[in-house]
């Protein structure tokens, strides 16, 4: 049907009109200028993605931002805060910490002392012209949509980490994404992490804001896991209801690489994680997991694309959502097995528990298979907590609220337990338990 031209939103025209002035104050104005200008031209044509685009069918960014007035690019601030969950989750783990405020690395608040030799850690803006950063981004695959263009156009800062071949980083590196600003802000961060051949890194991310003002952020993360290298990645998203966020991860796995990621969304914001995992070397393994424990009007969209381009790789994708109030979980997962990528074993699972009448789950687990000698499967199940199991627990003397919390905790912990680092798994489980009021704090109000 002939579609009428879409009237640009105030926020969209704002992005385009303010671009020149706003980016002048961003780091790397001299070196990134041309790319930024080209990117904003692309965005000016396409605008924000909306539900008529298949990829954003369940995450109508245009509608989400329709009522948000123009946002400003604000510099970093001293009073940047994060939600308690984001603050506390990894507090007891011995780690390096990088603090990024409004998309700019704040070295004064970061604690990176003692990083082993062979680990290069800088701000993205400082490293943007380095050959290895350019190479990493030039080889990146993933959607070139208008969000990617906006991110490019306003690219501010982020982190750039390179772990040299054979180096095993002794402690996890945590990147904390904070935001500050009284009137609302938008920022667009870019980061790159390269784990070279045989190296080993655990990367943590925490993200959260305290709902003082609207935040719209896009975050591009480029991960390169070299041959025989290992990358464990865990992220906690504790966004407030005032935030709208789109994270785009592009991952490339080398030969016999081992990649593991777990994203845990416990916030009330509207967020999307788009992950593109490209198997470029044989015998690589990937475990891509996502958990959501949502309330209020939260939306968590996990959009995943797994590209099996070479033979003999295994991938496992497990996504689980627990949805309360009027929250909405989205899973769009796609496994592509290219021609001649034989002997692939790929298992994708998306499950959801709906706890409220207004909650909603939308799942789209897709397979696209061009090679015949593969085992690929996906499963999806949506329902409410098993009444029989609740009845059983109650018959053993456990009150209903605790029984429900136990079931929900079990549903989520199952995936956390699979994470390859016991301390981190324990930290995540503590966070979930606190949220659920079970099983550690039996008798406490169930937070859900």
């Amino acid at each position: 049907m002939a579609r009428p031209a879409i009237q640009p939103l105030e926020i969209e025209t704002g992005f385009v009109d303010d671009h020149a002035a706003a980016t002048a104050s961003l780091p790397g104005a001299a070196t990134q200028g041309v790319e930024r200008e080209n990117a904003i031209k692309v965005f000016a044509v396409d605008g924000l993605p909306h539900r008529r685009l298949e990829d954003y069918r369940y995450f109508d960014l245009r509608q989400m931002l329709a009522k948000v007035g123009p946002l400003a690019v604000t510099p970093g601030a001293d009073n940047a805060t994060a939600s308690d969950d984001a603050n506390d989750v990894f507090a007891n783990i011995d780690r390096y910490v990088a603090v990024v405020i409004n998309g700019r690395l704040d070295t004064s608040k970061s604690d990176l002392t003692g990083l082993p030799e062979g680990v290069a850690f800088t701000s993205y803006a400082d490293a943007v012209d380095a050959d290895w950063v350019k190479a990493a981004f030039n080889s990146a695959e993933g959607p070139q949509d208008s969000v990617a263009a906006l991110n490019r156009a306003y690219a501010s800062d982020g982190v750039a980490v390179r772990v040299s071949a054979g180096v095993k980083v002794d402690k996890p590196i945590e990147v904390r994404w904070l935001s500050a600003g009284d009137t609302g802000t938008h920022y667009h961060a870019r980061s790159v992490v390269v784990v070279e051949e045989g190296a080993d890194l655990t990367l943590l991310e925490t993200r959260g804001d305290d709902a003082s003002a609207p935040v719209f952020a896009t975050n591009t993360l480029r991960l390169v896991v070299g041959d025989k290298a290992t990358l464990r990645h865990a992220a906690v998203y504790a966004d407030s209801e005032a935030s709208v966020r789109v994270a785009q991860k592009s991952v490339t796995l080398g030969e016999a690489a081992d990649y593991q990621t777990l994203g845990l969304a416990v916030g009330a914001g509207r967020a999307r994680t788009g992950e593109h995992v490209h198997f470029a070397g044989e015998d690589a393994k990937g475990a891509i997991n996502g958990l959501s424990l949502l309330r209020g009007k939260a939306v968590m969209d996990n959009t995943l694309f797994v590209d099996h381009a070479v033979p003999n790789c295994d991938s496992e994708e497990t996504f689980r959502s627990v949805l309360d109030d009027a929250s909405r979980g989205v899973f769009q997962g796609s496994i592509l097995v290219r021609k001649d990528a034989q002997k692939i074993d790929s298992q994708m699972q998306a499950r959801a528990l709906l706890l409220s009448r207004k909650a909603e789950m939308d799942a789209k687990p897709m397979l696209e298979i061009y090679a015949d000698d593969v085992i690929c499967a996906h499963g999806s199940a949506i329902g409410e907590p098993d009444q029989n199991a609740i009845f059983y627990l109650m018959s053993r003397g456990i009150d209903e609220k605790t029984a429900r919390a136990l079931l929900v905790a079990g549903f989520l912990d199952d995936v956390v337990d699979g994470f390859d680092d016991g301390d981190i798994a324990a930290a995540l489980k503590t966070l979930l338990a606190a949220r659920l009021g079970a099983p550690d704090d039996m008798g406490q109000e169930v937070a859900l």
């Binding site: 909603e360 939308d362 799942a363 996906h378």
Partner: protein, 486 residues
């Protein structure tokens, strides 16, 4: 095993495109509209059928809508752009006088065609339980067993006849499930539909026989636009069979059918299809474009609609038989076998829309791709907020034979009610070498072994077919996969 033996014999006799069994051409002078599509053609079709004014208006409105619509491009199929002005939109076999009064009056050429097709029309009256409404290039020529049906009060006639004989029913139901604004091909169909079947089962009647239609595309460059409307009134039951073959043609042929099913309180419709139209040759030359909109509306409580399809033919298939589960306790089923070989492209699946309480749906889809074909399942299960205790089970299995074909699964699962339980499973794998080896070790030739294993893979769906279809379908499974191994 007899069926398998027969399959092997058939395979020997058939093979690829150039040997297509039904690829003959009957030379009957056609009564054609000029090529192309415009308002005059729509008026011509309507006038040719002597339709009342309201029907013409319906067509014209759909046509105007169609002009503003865009051809959908989301399906996983590739085909050259269709020039809609390059088709004939009406052709009818010429008959002597006003129409045949009995089988003797039917054009003998036509009868011979049916014989080759394996429809024993001469024996129809003796054959138990099947009434055939034979559609030959858009116009129903012969309808048998009418007497027995009318005794039961069942109306089974060409839709062009129903427009005159039962205008109140056609007016009430036509387009009420698939409105002409639904999609591009539905709009096209509404504008130019040639003919099709109309079935009305009155209250409390269990249709005394299985109703069946054979469609056949014959004339060169003829678009076929069938329109089928089946209404099952309260407490009634009908099983409807649709089977298709088409002669070989080099030009792509377009088929855009619309099928609408309506079940009222406690009624049930079982709709089975075997589709084995000409799939084109190995390089994708020729073959049918099959763009079909099929939808059932479980309007009344406790009603049921069941779709079973065996899709082996057509160059390009775009087909999603769906159920709108409106009434409480209503249920929808979709059983499908889609086989693609050569250069065929299939994008098929279903939609189950749960609106009422305690609604149930079951989807079993078996996709088999061989050669360099592409086979996609695309389906949606949507639970609306009021669909208390709704239940869905979906299983989509894909089987790959050879390393040049592809299989895709694109399910959409949406739940907005916590009491609903949805399960979805999908697997993709290749034909087990172990099983194949075992069968061969027991003396079965490879091709026979493949047919046997694939028939086993499809068993859950084949079981759903009425007897006479099941036999044909089982043969087709083997024939369709001919040349796919080794």
């Amino acid at each position: 095993m007899a069926a398998v033996q027969e399959t092997v014999r058939d395979v020997e006799g058939l093979g690829q495109g150039d040997k297509y069994k039904y690829g003959f051409y009957t030379d009957i002078e056609s009564d054609k509209a000029p090529k192309g599509l415009n308002e005059d053609i729509v008026r011509f079709i309507s006038a040719k059928k002597g339709e009342p004014e309201w029907m013409l208006e319906y067509r014209l409105e759909a046509f105007r809508r169609w002009l503003d619509m865009e051809e959908p491009d989301w399906a996983k199929v590739n085909y050259p752009k269709i020039d809609y002005q390059d088709y004939y939109y009406y052709s009818a076999p010429k008959t002597q006088g006003d129409g045949p009064k009995s089988l003797d009056e039917v054009d003998p050429e036509l009868l011979r065609t049916y014989e080759k097709l394996g429809i024993p029309l001469n024996e129809q009256k003796m054959l138990a339980g099947v009434a055939v409404d034979a559609v030959f290039d858009s116009v129903s020529v012969v309808t048998t067993f009418k007497e027995k049906l009318s005794e039961a009060g069942v109306i089974f006639c060409p839709i062009s006849e129903a427009v005159h004989s039962h205008p109140e029913l056609v007016k009430e139901y036509l387009g009420s499930v698939v409105p002409s604004t639904d999609n591009y091909f539905a709009a096209l169909n509404a504008a130019v539909f040639s003919d099709g079947s109309f079935v009305y089962i009155p209250k409390g009647v269990r249709c005394p026989m299985e109703l069946s239609t054979y469609f056949r595309i014959n004339e060169r460059d003829t678009g076929q636009f069938e329109r089928t409307l089946i209404i099952a009134d309260e407490g009634s039951y009908v099983s409807y069979l649709e089977g298709c073959t088409a002669p070989m043609r080099d030009e792509h042929q377009l088929h855009a059918a619309v099928v609408e099913l309506i079940t009222h309180y406690d009624a049930e419709i079982k709709y089975s299809t075997v589709q084995n139209w000409y799939p084109g040759d190995e390089d994708g030359k020729g073959g049918i474009f099959n763009f079909v909109t099929k939808r059932g509306d479980c309007r009344g409580d406790n009603s049921k609609i069941s779709w079973t399809q065996v899709e082996t033919g057509s160059a390009v298939t775009w087909k999603y038989p769906s159920c709108v589960l409106r009434g409480d306790n209503s249920s929808g089923e979709f059983y499908s076998i889609a086989i693609s070989n050569g250069a065929q492209q299939v994008d098929s699946g279903t939609k189950m829309i749960h609106l009422g309480k305690n609604t149930k749906s079951r989807i079993i889809s078996k996709g088999i791709s061989a050669g360099k074909s592409s086979n996609a399942y695309r389906g949606m299960v949507s639970i609306y907020p009021n669909a208390e205790d709704a239940r869905n089970f979906t299983q989509c299995d894909s089987l790959l034979i050879g390393d040049r074909c592809s299989a895709h699964t694109v399910p959409y699962i949406e739940s907005r009610n916590p009491t609903a339980v949805l399960e979805h499973e999908a697997t993709t794998s290749k034909l087990s070498e172990d099983q194949l080896f075992y069968c061969q070790a027991r003396g079965l030739p490879e091709e026979e072994a493949v047919a046997l294993l694939v028939n086993g893979f499809c068993r859950e769906v084949l079981q759903q077919l009425p007897m006479e279809f099941a036999v044909e379908a089982q043969k087709l499974v083997g024939i369709s996969l001919e040349g796919s191994v080794g």
